[in-house]
Symmetry: C2
Subunit: 340 residues, 2 copies
């Protein structure tokens, strides 16, 4: 037998443009034929600023995050005659970015794409890190790829049209990034509940920049979620379960999930009660719920179905302190016992 090795290296660079204006989008599309993927609401709100682009409209909402929607995009791309030099920009919340990113990543084995997220949650979380995909048979993000956009244009002006509840949801991800890896950011945010809720510019800019810096560092070291990147799932294992069982928005569910994970950390003797309390207080200060009534069985069942499980073990993210997370492999039984 002879063995031949084929090596392939793919280096990608994503530029996050914080505080850029969506009116200047064209400058980042490099003269390529550019198609915008957005939902009708975005087109209505920002159509004026997007003049000159071809726009493909998609449906809104988690229920549209399906292979059927992606297939509709393939068909439109084909009808429009997009080729390998064409470029796609997803504009909207996390769902729009996820769908547009997956379609672009698989059309012609991948064409270039960028994002202009219009919600705080998408700016802080969904658009950065190269995860994309759709739900399948009720399983969140079961189908997708890891593939970074060329750029993420974060226009803070767009956030002013968001309802307050959505703004609060975005802060869940900021606080998550601070809690797992940046104690200084956590302490900065602790005093700034009001400024955050008012979307005051320097505070928002620091909150988003520092959160993304945490995420960018982790992604650069572990793009495909083999190890350290799992820390970014802090609050998500339980959070996804709450989201599914109670049908509440992602940011609110993650907030509840983080408080629960902090409590588990205290119960395991890893985290001081005082630090868990500070996390709970900060989340409450930005308008997020910190607990909810849900059947323990329903939560465990939802977690068992969560795609991040590996056999009967779950990689659960706990805190050793504010700004210091640890991934712990936990059996479902231990988790059940800790949930008490």
């Amino acid at each position: 037998m002879r063995i031949l090795e084929v090596e392939a290296n793919r280096a990608t660079k994503c530029r996050i443009l914080l505080g850029e204006s969506i009116s200047r989008l064209k400058e980042y599309c490099g003269g390529r034929r550019t198609i915008i993927v957005a939902d009708p609401m975005i087109v209505k709100l920002y159509g004026e600023k997007l003049k000159g682009f071809e726009i493909v409209e998609t449906g809104m909402g988690e229920e549209e995050k399906t292979l059927e929607t992606v297939e509709k995009l393939y068909s439109r791309f084909l009808e429009l005659g997009l080729d390998r030099n064409s470029f796609v920009v997803g504009i909207g919340g996390g769902i729009a970015c996820d769908i547009a990113g997956f379609a672009a990543s698989t059309y012609l084995r991948g064409i270039g794409f960028g994002f202009a997220p219009t919600t705080l949650l998408a700016q802080v979380d969904a658009s950065v890190g190269g995860k994309n995909g759709v739900n399948y048979r009720g399983y969140k993000n079961l189908i997708g790829t890891f593939n970074q956009p060329e750029f993420v244009l974060c226009d803070f002006e767009l956030l002013k049209t968001l309802p307050p509840r959505q703004v609060s949801c975005g802060f869940a991800e900021n606080i998550k990034c601070a809690a797992i890896a940046n104690r200084e950011l956590f302490e900065y945010l602790e005093g700034k509940g009001e400024e955050l809720l008012k979307l005051e510019r320097p505070v928002i800019e620091k909150a988003v920049y520092d959160s993304l810096a945490v995420k960018a560092g982790i992604v650069a070291r572990d793009e495909r979620e083999q190890g350290e990147r799992r820390k970014l799932n802090f609050g998500h294992t339980l959070g996804h379960a709450y989201e599914k069982v109670l049908g509440i928005p992602h940011g609110e569910a993650i907030s509840i999930g983080m408080v629960a994970a902090a409590k588990l950390s205290v119960r395991r003797g890893m985290l001081k009660q005082g630090e868990a309390d500070r996390l709970e207080n900060l989340l409450a200060a930005v308008g997020l719920p910190t607990s909810a009534e849900a059947s323990k069985d329903a939560l465990l069942d939802a977690m068992l179905k969560d795609k991040k499980r590996e056999e009967a073990k779950i990689n659960f993210v706990l805190l050793r302190g504010l700004g210091d997370a640890q991934v712990v492999e936990m059996g479902m039984e231990e988790l059940e016992a800790l949930l008490g």
Copy 2:
């Protein structure tokens, strides 16, 4: 505005195991839960050697290379409870490898996979280089990703059950690799028509190894087909058109496409007539057709629809000599004129 850069590097290594036996497949699956994706014919032929594996059967044939088939695989993966540590092995011809590779590359944003190609064409071509995908609305490989398998196990014993026409088809890709980048291999093959058709071991082993070495080198330098990798499309631009218009097997169509591309190279003054003749003779010596009657309009129409076009230009691969290819950007008009 502040700019944050996120870098991600993905280095992948694919091991091609030439002359290994499929009975030893398990050794390469690293103790992971392994699911085999294969068509019923493969299961019938090699089921004995694959005992102990879970097998998911798929349909056969180009008409099965669709998103619907991939969705069926997602459903089966889900029912079987595959997780991120699970492993998929595609066994069969190029179509089976393409489908299994795409499903594995997008399930849970990508789980590990390997191939055991059972046709010469798939051993030499389809399984190596990380291209996978399915057809969409009649367009070949419109949907897919670039993602390398962990290994490609080439068991030469399996080739003995192939019908002679399929064996000949495989040589089209060997000869292509020699013609674009390895003159020594080309000259070696020139005297070996009979041994090749009899699948004599040392000759086959050198033919496959050297062809794959050509391909591996090119892929390592240009995984995503931005430049040099286009050379591997030698014979394919016209070949795909013949395949579509005449409904002939891929290898035969590529053979005709290579002869046509060599003729264009001569007409353009790049290649000597004698070298074009040698290419034609070698293809004929391994039982491949070198020309076919087809309407020029139908061919041009099929090429226009071929996904590799970029705007109105085509990246056409021509020869400067045996073992020396060049990618030329050509307008459809020039191509039409050259086709005479």
